[in-house]
Symmetry: C2
Subunit: 281 residues, 2 copies
Protein backbone atom coordinates (compact mmCIF):
# COMPACT_ATOMS: atom_id res chain seq x y z
CA UNK A 1 0.00 0.00 0.00
CA UNK A 2 1.28 3.44 -0.95
CA UNK A 3 0.29 6.63 0.85
CA UNK A 4 0.08 9.97 -0.97
CA UNK A 5 -0.90 13.38 0.31
CA UNK A 6 -1.19 15.52 -2.79
CA UNK A 7 -3.43 15.49 -5.84
CA UNK A 8 -0.75 15.08 -8.50
CA UNK A 9 0.89 12.08 -6.79
CA UNK A 10 -2.53 10.57 -6.34
CA UNK A 11 -3.38 11.03 -10.03
CA UNK A 12 -0.03 9.58 -11.11
CA UNK A 13 -0.44 6.44 -9.06
CA UNK A 14 -3.99 5.92 -10.34
CA UNK A 15 -3.04 6.58 -13.96
CA UNK A 16 -0.34 3.92 -13.68
CA UNK A 17 -2.80 1.43 -12.18
CA UNK A 18 -5.34 2.16 -14.88
CA UNK A 19 -2.73 1.68 -17.61
CA UNK A 20 -1.96 -1.74 -16.16
CA UNK A 21 -5.59 -2.63 -16.86
CA UNK A 22 -6.95 -2.36 -13.32
CA UNK A 23 -10.40 -1.01 -12.53
CA UNK A 24 -10.27 1.78 -9.97
CA UNK A 25 -12.30 1.30 -6.79
CA UNK A 26 -12.73 4.16 -4.36
CA UNK A 27 -13.72 4.32 -0.71
CA UNK A 28 -13.94 7.95 0.46
CA UNK A 29 -13.78 8.25 4.26
CA UNK A 30 -13.18 10.78 7.00
CA UNK A 31 -10.93 8.33 8.86
CA UNK A 32 -11.69 7.01 12.32
CA UNK A 33 -12.03 3.75 10.45
CA UNK A 34 -13.99 0.78 11.76
CA UNK A 35 -15.34 -2.52 10.48
CA UNK A 36 -17.92 -0.71 8.37
CA UNK A 37 -15.16 0.99 6.39
CA UNK A 38 -13.17 -2.24 6.29
CA UNK A 39 -16.14 -4.00 4.69
CA UNK A 40 -16.16 -1.40 1.88
CA UNK A 41 -12.42 -1.75 1.29
CA UNK A 42 -12.65 -5.55 1.22
CA UNK A 43 -15.62 -5.36 -1.13
CA UNK A 44 -13.57 -3.25 -3.57
CA UNK A 45 -10.55 -5.54 -3.20
CA UNK A 46 -12.71 -8.63 -3.82
CA UNK A 47 -14.06 -6.96 -6.97
CA UNK A 48 -10.47 -6.91 -8.24
CA UNK A 49 -10.11 -3.15 -8.07
CA UNK A 50 -7.03 -1.08 -7.49
CA UNK A 51 -8.47 0.19 -4.20
CA UNK A 52 -8.08 3.87 -3.39
CA UNK A 53 -9.09 4.97 0.11
CA UNK A 54 -9.22 8.66 0.96
CA UNK A 55 -9.01 9.88 4.54
CA UNK A 56 -10.10 13.50 4.69
CA UNK A 57 -12.06 15.19 7.46
CA UNK A 58 -14.07 17.50 5.24
CA UNK A 59 -14.60 20.89 6.86
CA UNK A 60 -17.48 21.96 4.61
CA UNK A 61 -19.79 19.19 5.77
CA UNK A 62 -19.60 20.24 9.43
CA UNK A 63 -21.87 22.99 10.67
CA UNK A 64 -21.03 25.65 13.22
CA UNK A 65 -20.91 24.04 16.65
CA UNK A 66 -20.50 20.54 15.23
CA UNK A 67 -17.59 18.21 15.97
CA UNK A 68 -15.11 19.10 13.20
CA UNK A 69 -12.23 19.92 15.54
CA UNK A 70 -12.69 16.93 17.84
CA UNK A 71 -13.51 14.42 15.09
CA UNK A 72 -11.17 11.42 15.60
CA UNK A 73 -8.00 11.44 13.45
CA UNK A 74 -6.16 8.22 14.41
CA UNK A 75 -4.16 8.13 11.18
CA UNK A 76 -1.77 5.30 12.14
CA UNK A 77 -4.55 2.93 13.16
CA UNK A 78 -6.46 3.95 10.06
CA UNK A 79 -3.50 3.22 7.79
CA UNK A 80 -3.08 -0.20 9.41
CA UNK A 81 -6.77 -1.01 8.86
CA UNK A 82 -6.52 0.13 5.23
CA UNK A 83 -3.48 -2.04 4.64
CA UNK A 84 -4.97 -5.14 6.23
CA UNK A 85 -8.27 -4.72 4.36
CA UNK A 86 -6.73 -4.56 0.90
CA UNK A 87 -6.21 -0.87 0.17
CA UNK A 88 -3.79 -0.21 -2.69
CA UNK A 89 -3.41 3.56 -2.34
CA UNK A 90 -4.18 5.72 0.67
CA UNK A 91 -4.89 9.38 -0.18
CA UNK A 92 -4.58 11.57 2.90
CA UNK A 93 -4.59 15.19 1.71
CA UNK A 94 -4.34 18.47 3.57
CA UNK A 95 -7.38 20.74 3.38
CA UNK A 96 -5.62 23.03 0.86
CA UNK A 97 -5.29 20.15 -1.61
CA UNK A 98 -9.07 19.81 -1.77
CA UNK A 99 -10.00 23.45 -1.13
CA UNK A 100 -7.37 25.53 -2.96
CA UNK A 101 -6.80 29.20 -2.10
CA UNK A 102 -9.68 31.32 -3.36
CA UNK A 103 -11.98 28.30 -3.54
CA UNK A 104 -15.66 29.15 -3.82
CA UNK A 105 -17.40 26.58 -6.06
CA UNK A 106 -19.98 24.33 -4.45
CA UNK A 107 -22.10 21.39 -5.58
CA UNK A 108 -25.64 21.83 -4.41
CA UNK A 109 -28.00 18.90 -3.95
CA UNK A 110 -31.70 19.45 -4.46
CA UNK A 111 -34.79 18.41 -2.57
CA UNK A 112 -33.33 15.08 -1.45
CA UNK A 113 -31.36 17.13 1.08
CA UNK A 114 -34.46 18.90 2.42
CA UNK A 115 -35.78 16.15 4.70
CA UNK A 116 -34.36 13.79 7.32
CA UNK A 117 -30.96 15.10 8.48
CA UNK A 118 -31.13 18.15 6.17
CA UNK A 119 -32.94 20.61 8.47
CA UNK A 120 -30.78 19.57 11.45
CA UNK A 121 -27.50 19.98 9.58
CA UNK A 122 -27.81 23.02 7.27
CA UNK A 123 -25.22 22.88 4.50
CA UNK A 124 -24.12 19.37 5.41
CA UNK A 125 -25.12 17.65 2.17
CA UNK A 126 -23.81 20.52 0.06
CA UNK A 127 -20.47 19.93 1.80
CA UNK A 128 -20.73 16.21 1.12
CA UNK A 129 -21.55 16.68 -2.58
CA UNK A 130 -18.80 19.27 -2.93
CA UNK A 131 -16.09 17.05 -1.48
CA UNK A 132 -17.24 13.88 -3.23
CA UNK A 133 -17.30 15.66 -6.61
CA UNK A 134 -13.75 16.87 -6.02
CA UNK A 135 -12.52 13.45 -4.89
CA UNK A 136 -14.21 11.82 -7.89
CA UNK A 137 -12.46 14.25 -10.22
CA UNK A 138 -9.14 13.39 -8.62
CA UNK A 139 -9.59 9.61 -8.41
CA UNK A 140 -11.90 9.09 -11.41
CA UNK A 141 -13.11 5.80 -9.99
CA UNK A 142 -14.90 3.13 -11.96
CA UNK A 143 -16.78 2.21 -8.79
CA UNK A 144 -17.16 4.08 -5.51
CA UNK A 145 -18.32 2.34 -2.34
CA UNK A 146 -20.52 3.94 0.31
CA UNK A 147 -22.14 2.60 3.46
CA UNK A 148 -25.89 2.23 3.86
CA UNK A 149 -25.61 3.66 7.40
CA UNK A 150 -25.50 7.13 5.80
CA UNK A 151 -28.62 6.34 3.81
CA UNK A 152 -29.58 9.88 2.84
CA UNK A 153 -26.01 10.59 1.79
CA UNK A 154 -26.02 7.48 -0.40
CA UNK A 155 -29.24 8.52 -2.15
CA UNK A 156 -27.96 12.07 -2.67
CA UNK A 157 -24.62 10.83 -4.04
CA UNK A 158 -26.38 8.48 -6.45
CA UNK A 159 -28.49 11.42 -7.62
CA UNK A 160 -25.42 13.66 -8.00
CA UNK A 161 -23.57 11.03 -10.00
CA UNK A 162 -26.53 10.54 -12.33
CA UNK A 163 -27.19 14.28 -12.66
CA UNK A 164 -23.61 15.46 -13.13
CA UNK A 165 -22.89 12.52 -15.43
CA UNK A 166 -19.94 11.16 -13.51
CA UNK A 167 -18.66 7.99 -15.23
CA UNK A 168 -18.68 6.20 -11.89
CA UNK A 169 -20.81 3.36 -10.56
CA UNK A 170 -22.03 3.72 -6.97
CA UNK A 171 -22.22 0.65 -4.81
CA UNK A 172 -23.90 0.93 -1.42
CA UNK A 173 -22.87 -1.73 1.10
CA UNK A 174 -24.80 -3.06 4.12
CA UNK A 175 -24.57 -1.58 7.58
CA UNK A 176 -22.08 -3.36 9.84
CA UNK A 177 -23.34 -3.64 13.42
CA UNK A 178 -21.93 -4.33 16.86
CA UNK A 179 -23.19 -7.54 18.58
CA UNK A 180 -25.96 -5.56 20.32
CA UNK A 181 -27.10 -4.06 17.02
CA UNK A 182 -25.52 -0.60 17.25
CA UNK A 183 -24.47 0.53 13.77
CA UNK A 184 -20.70 1.01 13.54
CA UNK A 185 -19.82 4.69 13.51
CA UNK A 186 -16.74 6.76 14.18
CA UNK A 187 -18.89 8.86 16.48
CA UNK A 188 -19.61 5.88 18.75
CA UNK A 189 -16.21 6.73 20.26
CA UNK A 190 -17.87 9.81 21.81
CA UNK A 191 -20.18 7.66 23.94
CA UNK A 192 -19.69 7.05 27.66
CA UNK A 193 -20.16 3.41 28.77
CA UNK A 194 -23.67 4.26 29.92
CA UNK A 195 -24.58 6.05 26.66
CA UNK A 196 -23.04 3.20 24.71
CA UNK A 197 -25.48 0.84 26.38
CA UNK A 198 -28.36 3.24 25.74
CA UNK A 199 -27.35 3.57 22.07
CA UNK A 200 -28.36 -0.02 21.36
CA UNK A 201 -31.95 1.23 21.66
CA UNK A 202 -31.72 2.78 18.18
CA UNK A 203 -31.54 -0.62 16.55
CA UNK A 204 -34.09 -2.11 18.95
CA UNK A 205 -36.41 0.72 17.95
CA UNK A 206 -35.88 0.05 14.26
CA UNK A 207 -36.55 -3.65 14.76
CA UNK A 208 -39.72 -2.84 16.66
CA UNK A 209 -40.87 -0.72 13.74
CA UNK A 210 -39.92 -3.43 11.27
CA UNK A 211 -41.94 -6.04 13.15
CA UNK A 212 -44.99 -3.80 13.26
CA UNK A 213 -44.85 -3.19 9.51
CA UNK A 214 -44.26 -6.86 8.78
CA UNK A 215 -47.29 -7.71 10.89
CA UNK A 216 -49.35 -5.39 8.70
CA UNK A 217 -49.26 -1.98 10.36
CA UNK A 218 -49.62 0.65 7.65
CA UNK A 219 -49.98 3.79 9.74
CA UNK A 220 -46.56 5.46 9.88
CA UNK A 221 -47.56 7.56 12.89
CA UNK A 222 -48.17 4.40 14.93
CA UNK A 223 -44.84 2.90 13.87
CA UNK A 224 -42.99 6.09 14.81
CA UNK A 225 -44.83 6.18 18.14
CA UNK A 226 -43.74 2.64 18.96
CA UNK A 227 -40.10 3.36 18.05
CA UNK A 228 -40.16 6.51 20.16
CA UNK A 229 -41.36 4.47 23.14
CA UNK A 230 -38.40 2.09 22.78
CA UNK A 231 -35.95 5.02 22.64
CA UNK A 232 -37.56 6.81 25.60
CA UNK A 233 -37.56 3.63 27.61
CA UNK A 234 -33.76 3.37 27.24
CA UNK A 235 -33.04 6.76 28.82
CA UNK A 236 -32.93 10.46 28.09
CA UNK A 237 -32.10 11.46 24.51
CA UNK A 238 -33.04 14.10 21.98
CA UNK A 239 -34.73 12.62 18.93
CA UNK A 240 -34.08 14.73 15.82
CA UNK A 241 -36.44 12.59 13.77
CA UNK A 242 -37.92 9.17 13.26
CA UNK A 243 -39.20 8.81 9.71
CA UNK A 244 -40.71 6.22 7.43
CA UNK A 245 -39.64 7.08 3.89
CA UNK A 246 -39.43 5.75 0.37
CA UNK A 247 -35.93 4.24 0.10
CA UNK A 248 -35.29 5.91 -3.28
CA UNK A 249 -37.07 9.26 -3.17
CA UNK A 250 -36.81 9.70 0.63
CA UNK A 251 -40.39 10.99 0.53
CA UNK A 252 -42.14 10.50 3.88
CA UNK A 253 -44.91 7.93 3.86
CA UNK A 254 -47.96 8.44 6.04
CA UNK A 255 -49.63 5.31 4.70
CA UNK A 256 -46.86 2.70 4.54
CA UNK A 257 -46.33 0.88 1.27
CA UNK A 258 -43.25 -1.40 1.47
CA UNK A 259 -40.42 -1.36 0.62
CA UNK A 260 -39.83 1.48 3.05
CA UNK A 261 -36.89 2.74 5.01
CA UNK A 262 -37.24 3.52 8.69
CA UNK A 263 -34.60 6.11 9.54
CA UNK A 264 -33.80 7.99 12.70
CA UNK A 265 -31.35 10.44 14.21
CA UNK A 266 -30.87 10.67 17.96
CA UNK A 267 -28.62 12.86 20.04
CA UNK A 268 -27.20 11.43 23.20
CA UNK A 269 -25.06 13.91 25.12
CA UNK A 270 -22.11 14.72 22.85
CA UNK A 271 -22.94 12.32 20.04
CA UNK A 272 -25.48 12.46 17.25
CA UNK A 273 -26.24 8.96 15.98
CA UNK A 274 -28.15 7.88 12.88
CA UNK A 275 -29.40 4.49 11.79
CA UNK A 276 -31.88 2.97 9.39
CA UNK A 277 -33.49 -0.26 8.30
CA UNK A 278 -35.17 -1.14 5.04
CA UNK A 279 -38.38 -3.12 5.40
CA UNK A 280 -39.16 -4.98 2.24
CA UNK A 281 -42.59 -6.39 3.01
CA UNK B 1 -16.52 13.91 -38.44
CA UNK B 2 -18.97 11.73 -36.53
CA UNK B 3 -22.13 13.04 -34.92
CA UNK B 4 -23.55 11.47 -31.76
CA UNK B 5 -26.59 12.43 -29.74
CA UNK B 6 -26.34 10.34 -26.60
CA UNK B 7 -23.90 10.16 -23.72
CA UNK B 8 -22.85 6.54 -24.10
CA UNK B 9 -22.05 6.87 -27.82
CA UNK B 10 -20.13 10.03 -27.04
CA UNK B 11 -18.09 8.30 -24.33
CA UNK B 12 -17.38 5.32 -26.58
CA UNK B 13 -16.04 7.46 -29.40
CA UNK B 14 -13.86 9.45 -27.02
CA UNK B 15 -12.54 6.35 -25.24
CA UNK B 16 -11.51 4.94 -28.60
CA UNK B 17 -9.73 8.16 -29.54
CA UNK B 18 -7.96 8.28 -26.20
CA UNK B 19 -6.82 4.69 -26.58
CA UNK B 20 -5.29 5.61 -29.92
CA UNK B 21 -3.11 8.10 -28.04
CA UNK B 22 -4.96 11.29 -28.92
CA UNK B 23 -5.40 14.18 -26.52
CA UNK B 24 -9.04 15.21 -26.19
CA UNK B 25 -9.90 18.82 -27.01
CA UNK B 26 -13.36 20.14 -26.25
CA UNK B 27 -15.29 23.15 -27.50
CA UNK B 28 -18.64 23.42 -25.70
CA UNK B 29 -21.12 25.60 -27.61
CA UNK B 30 -24.82 26.42 -27.82
CA UNK B 31 -24.69 26.30 -31.62
CA UNK B 32 -25.46 29.27 -33.82
CA UNK B 33 -21.81 28.92 -34.69
CA UNK B 34 -19.71 31.76 -36.11
CA UNK B 35 -16.07 32.57 -36.74
CA UNK B 36 -15.45 32.89 -33.01
CA UNK B 37 -16.42 29.28 -32.48
CA UNK B 38 -14.50 28.25 -35.61
CA UNK B 39 -11.36 29.81 -34.15
CA UNK B 40 -11.71 27.63 -31.04
CA UNK B 41 -12.22 24.47 -33.09
CA UNK B 42 -9.23 25.26 -35.31
CA UNK B 43 -7.12 26.02 -32.26
CA UNK B 44 -7.91 22.58 -30.82
CA UNK B 45 -7.30 20.90 -34.18
CA UNK B 46 -3.95 22.70 -34.54
CA UNK B 47 -2.98 21.47 -31.06
CA UNK B 48 -3.37 17.94 -32.42
CA UNK B 49 -6.45 17.12 -30.38
CA UNK B 50 -9.27 14.77 -31.14
CA UNK B 51 -11.70 17.70 -31.27
CA UNK B 52 -15.08 17.26 -29.61
CA UNK B 53 -17.64 20.03 -30.19
CA UNK B 54 -20.88 20.01 -28.25
CA UNK B 55 -23.95 21.87 -29.47
CA UNK B 56 -26.46 22.15 -26.67
CA UNK B 57 -28.76 25.08 -25.94
CA UNK B 58 -28.62 24.82 -22.17
CA UNK B 59 -31.98 25.65 -20.59
CA UNK B 60 -30.63 26.25 -17.09
CA UNK B 61 -28.51 29.22 -18.11
CA UNK B 62 -31.48 31.16 -19.48
CA UNK B 63 -33.61 33.20 -17.10
CA UNK B 64 -37.36 33.67 -17.25
CA UNK B 65 -38.15 36.01 -20.15
CA UNK B 66 -34.80 35.42 -21.82
CA UNK B 67 -34.32 34.07 -25.33
CA UNK B 68 -34.14 30.30 -24.74
CA UNK B 69 -36.97 29.41 -27.11
CA UNK B 70 -35.90 31.72 -29.93
CA UNK B 71 -32.15 31.06 -29.58
CA UNK B 72 -30.88 30.12 -33.08
CA UNK B 73 -30.59 26.38 -33.78
CA UNK B 74 -29.26 26.12 -37.35
CA UNK B 75 -27.91 22.60 -36.86
CA UNK B 76 -27.04 21.90 -40.50
CA UNK B 77 -24.99 25.06 -40.93
CA UNK B 78 -23.39 24.40 -37.56
CA UNK B 79 -22.42 20.86 -38.53
CA UNK B 80 -20.87 22.16 -41.75
CA UNK B 81 -18.84 24.75 -39.85
CA UNK B 82 -17.69 22.10 -37.39
CA UNK B 83 -16.60 19.80 -40.18
CA UNK B 84 -14.71 22.46 -42.09
CA UNK B 85 -12.98 23.73 -38.96
CA UNK B 86 -11.57 20.37 -37.93
CA UNK B 87 -14.10 18.89 -35.51
CA UNK B 88 -13.67 15.13 -34.99
CA UNK B 89 -16.84 14.42 -33.03
CA UNK B 90 -20.00 16.51 -32.83
CA UNK B 91 -22.07 15.87 -29.70
CA UNK B 92 -25.61 17.18 -30.11
CA UNK B 93 -27.65 15.82 -27.20
CA UNK B 94 -31.30 16.19 -26.27
CA UNK B 95 -32.02 18.01 -23.02
CA UNK B 96 -32.83 14.70 -21.27
CA UNK B 97 -29.33 13.42 -21.96
CA UNK B 98 -27.84 16.24 -19.92
CA UNK B 99 -30.70 16.72 -17.44
CA UNK B 100 -32.00 13.23 -16.69
CA UNK B 101 -35.46 12.69 -15.18
CA UNK B 102 -35.49 13.76 -11.54
CA UNK B 103 -32.40 15.90 -11.99
CA UNK B 104 -31.79 18.39 -9.21
CA UNK B 105 -28.02 18.74 -8.63
CA UNK B 106 -26.46 22.10 -9.40
CA UNK B 107 -22.94 23.53 -9.44
CA UNK B 108 -22.89 26.88 -7.73
CA UNK B 109 -20.22 29.47 -8.45
CA UNK B 110 -19.22 31.86 -5.70
CA UNK B 111 -18.61 35.58 -5.58
CA UNK B 112 -17.17 35.74 -9.09
CA UNK B 113 -20.78 35.47 -10.25
CA UNK B 114 -21.96 38.36 -8.08
CA UNK B 115 -20.79 41.26 -10.27
CA UNK B 116 -20.95 42.23 -13.95
CA UNK B 117 -23.64 40.13 -15.66
CA UNK B 118 -24.56 38.30 -12.43
CA UNK B 119 -27.22 40.66 -11.08
CA UNK B 120 -28.80 41.06 -14.52
CA UNK B 121 -29.02 37.32 -15.17
CA UNK B 122 -29.89 35.59 -11.88
CA UNK B 123 -28.95 31.91 -11.99
CA UNK B 124 -27.14 32.26 -15.33
CA UNK B 125 -23.67 31.31 -14.11
CA UNK B 126 -25.02 28.49 -11.95
CA UNK B 127 -26.58 27.15 -15.15
CA UNK B 128 -23.28 27.56 -16.98
CA UNK B 129 -21.26 25.79 -14.28
CA UNK B 130 -23.85 23.04 -14.04
CA UNK B 131 -23.80 22.27 -17.76
CA UNK B 132 -20.04 22.60 -18.16
CA UNK B 133 -19.42 20.23 -15.24
CA UNK B 134 -21.75 17.68 -16.83
CA UNK B 135 -20.17 18.04 -20.25
CA UNK B 136 -16.70 17.74 -18.73
CA UNK B 137 -17.72 14.52 -16.98
CA UNK B 138 -18.98 13.15 -20.29
CA UNK B 139 -16.10 14.29 -22.51
CA UNK B 140 -13.28 14.27 -19.90
CA UNK B 141 -11.23 16.63 -22.05
CA UNK B 142 -7.51 17.24 -21.63
CA UNK B 143 -8.10 20.81 -22.81
CA UNK B 144 -11.30 22.82 -23.15
CA UNK B 145 -11.48 25.98 -25.23
CA UNK B 146 -13.57 29.04 -24.38
CA UNK B 147 -13.88 32.47 -25.94
CA UNK B 148 -12.70 35.64 -24.21
CA UNK B 149 -15.91 37.37 -25.31
CA UNK B 150 -17.67 35.70 -22.39
CA UNK B 151 -14.97 36.98 -20.04
CA UNK B 152 -16.82 36.48 -16.76
CA UNK B 153 -17.82 32.98 -17.82
CA UNK B 154 -14.19 32.15 -18.60
CA UNK B 155 -13.00 33.34 -15.18
CA UNK B 156 -15.78 31.42 -13.42
CA UNK B 157 -15.04 28.24 -15.39
CA UNK B 158 -11.33 28.49 -14.58
CA UNK B 159 -12.26 28.85 -10.91
CA UNK B 160 -14.67 25.91 -11.08
CA UNK B 161 -12.07 23.68 -12.73
CA UNK B 162 -9.46 24.58 -10.10
CA UNK B 163 -11.93 24.20 -7.21
CA UNK B 164 -13.62 20.99 -8.28
CA UNK B 165 -10.27 19.50 -9.31
CA UNK B 166 -11.23 18.71 -12.88
CA UNK B 167 -8.22 17.21 -14.70
CA UNK B 168 -8.78 19.64 -17.57
CA UNK B 169 -6.75 22.58 -18.83
CA UNK B 170 -8.74 25.68 -19.78
CA UNK B 171 -7.59 27.73 -22.76
CA UNK B 172 -9.27 31.06 -23.40
CA UNK B 173 -9.01 32.31 -26.98
CA UNK B 174 -9.16 35.90 -28.30
CA UNK B 175 -12.38 37.62 -29.32
CA UNK B 176 -13.08 37.44 -33.05
CA UNK B 177 -14.56 40.67 -34.40
CA UNK B 178 -16.46 41.87 -37.45
CA UNK B 179 -14.66 44.43 -39.65
CA UNK B 180 -16.31 47.30 -37.74
CA UNK B 181 -15.19 45.85 -34.40
CA UNK B 182 -18.42 44.20 -33.25
CA UNK B 183 -17.58 41.03 -31.33
CA UNK B 184 -18.93 37.95 -33.05
CA UNK B 185 -21.98 36.59 -31.23
CA UNK B 186 -24.84 34.30 -32.05
CA UNK B 187 -27.14 36.98 -30.71
CA UNK B 188 -25.98 39.48 -33.36
CA UNK B 189 -28.52 37.69 -35.56
CA UNK B 190 -31.26 39.37 -33.51
CA UNK B 191 -30.17 42.85 -34.65
CA UNK B 192 -32.01 44.88 -37.27
CA UNK B 193 -29.76 46.56 -39.87
CA UNK B 194 -30.00 49.80 -37.91
CA UNK B 195 -29.20 48.17 -34.58
CA UNK B 196 -26.37 46.27 -36.22
CA UNK B 197 -24.83 49.61 -37.17
CA UNK B 198 -25.41 50.98 -33.68
CA UNK B 199 -23.86 47.85 -32.12
CA UNK B 200 -20.42 48.82 -33.42
CA UNK B 201 -20.46 51.52 -30.74
CA UNK B 202 -19.69 48.90 -28.07
CA UNK B 203 -16.22 48.34 -29.45
CA UNK B 204 -15.73 52.04 -30.17
CA UNK B 205 -16.59 52.72 -26.54
CA UNK B 206 -14.12 50.10 -25.32
CA UNK B 207 -11.40 51.58 -27.52
CA UNK B 208 -12.16 55.04 -26.19
CA UNK B 209 -11.73 53.73 -22.67
CA UNK B 210 -8.53 51.96 -23.63
CA UNK B 211 -7.04 55.14 -25.09
CA UNK B 212 -7.91 57.11 -21.98
CA UNK B 213 -6.23 54.56 -19.74
CA UNK B 214 -3.21 54.32 -22.00
CA UNK B 215 -2.87 58.10 -21.89
CA UNK B 216 -2.74 57.89 -18.10
CA UNK B 217 -6.33 58.24 -16.89
CA UNK B 218 -6.63 56.36 -13.59
CA UNK B 219 -10.13 57.39 -12.51
CA UNK B 220 -12.49 54.57 -13.50
CA UNK B 221 -15.51 56.84 -13.20
CA UNK B 222 -14.15 59.12 -15.89
CA UNK B 223 -13.38 56.20 -18.18
CA UNK B 224 -16.89 54.81 -17.74
CA UNK B 225 -18.38 58.25 -18.37
CA UNK B 226 -16.48 58.57 -21.66
CA UNK B 227 -17.56 55.13 -22.81
CA UNK B 228 -21.16 55.88 -21.90
CA UNK B 229 -20.99 59.02 -24.05
CA UNK B 230 -19.84 56.97 -27.06
CA UNK B 231 -22.72 54.51 -26.57
CA UNK B 232 -25.31 57.25 -26.06
CA UNK B 233 -24.08 59.07 -29.13
CA UNK B 234 -24.80 55.99 -31.27
CA UNK B 235 -28.48 55.84 -30.40
CA UNK B 236 -30.91 54.61 -27.75
CA UNK B 237 -29.83 51.60 -25.72
CA UNK B 238 -30.08 50.29 -22.20
CA UNK B 239 -26.68 49.94 -20.55
CA UNK B 240 -26.69 47.13 -17.96
CA UNK B 241 -23.17 48.03 -16.87
CA UNK B 242 -19.84 49.44 -17.91
CA UNK B 243 -17.12 48.27 -15.53
CA UNK B 244 -13.37 48.47 -15.09
CA UNK B 245 -12.31 45.29 -13.32
CA UNK B 246 -9.32 43.18 -12.40
CA UNK B 247 -9.06 40.59 -15.22
CA UNK B 248 -8.55 37.70 -12.78
CA UNK B 249 -10.62 38.54 -9.70
CA UNK B 250 -13.24 40.62 -11.58
CA UNK B 251 -13.09 43.08 -8.66
CA UNK B 252 -14.14 46.59 -9.72
CA UNK B 253 -11.35 49.14 -9.76
CA UNK B 254 -12.10 52.73 -8.82
CA UNK B 255 -8.44 53.70 -9.12
CA UNK B 256 -7.19 51.98 -12.25
CA UNK B 257 -4.06 49.84 -12.00
CA UNK B 258 -3.39 48.02 -15.30
CA UNK B 259 -3.77 45.33 -16.44
CA UNK B 260 -7.51 45.91 -16.29
CA UNK B 261 -10.48 44.64 -18.18
CA UNK B 262 -13.10 47.06 -19.45
CA UNK B 263 -16.35 45.13 -19.76
CA UNK B 264 -19.84 46.14 -20.72
CA UNK B 265 -23.31 44.80 -21.36
CA UNK B 266 -25.79 46.72 -23.46
CA UNK B 267 -29.33 45.92 -24.47
CA UNK B 268 -30.51 47.04 -27.85
CA UNK B 269 -34.13 46.18 -28.53
CA UNK B 270 -34.33 42.37 -28.48
CA UNK B 271 -30.61 41.68 -28.09
CA UNK B 272 -28.36 41.83 -25.07
CA UNK B 273 -24.74 42.28 -26.16
CA UNK B 274 -21.55 41.98 -24.13
CA UNK B 275 -17.98 42.86 -24.97
CA UNK B 276 -14.68 43.51 -23.22
CA UNK B 277 -11.12 44.64 -23.77
CA UNK B 278 -8.05 44.02 -21.63
CA UNK B 279 -5.81 47.06 -21.24
CA UNK B 280 -2.33 46.01 -20.29
CA UNK B 281 -0.69 49.38 -19.63
Amino acid sequence: MNTVTNVSECRQAITAARKSGKSIGFVPTMGGLHEGHASLIRRSRDAGDFVVVSIFVNPTQFGAGEDFSRYPRPIENDAALCRSSGCSLLFNPEVSEIYPPGDETRVRPGRLADGMCGPFRPGHFEGVCTVVARLFNIVQPDTAYFGQKDAQQAVIIRRMVADLRFPTRIEVCPIVREPDGLAMSTRNAYLSPEQRKQAASLYRGLRTGQELIQRGERNAGKVVFAIRAVLDDAGPSHIDYIAVVDPETLAEQDEISPPVMIALAVRLEGARLIDNLIVTK
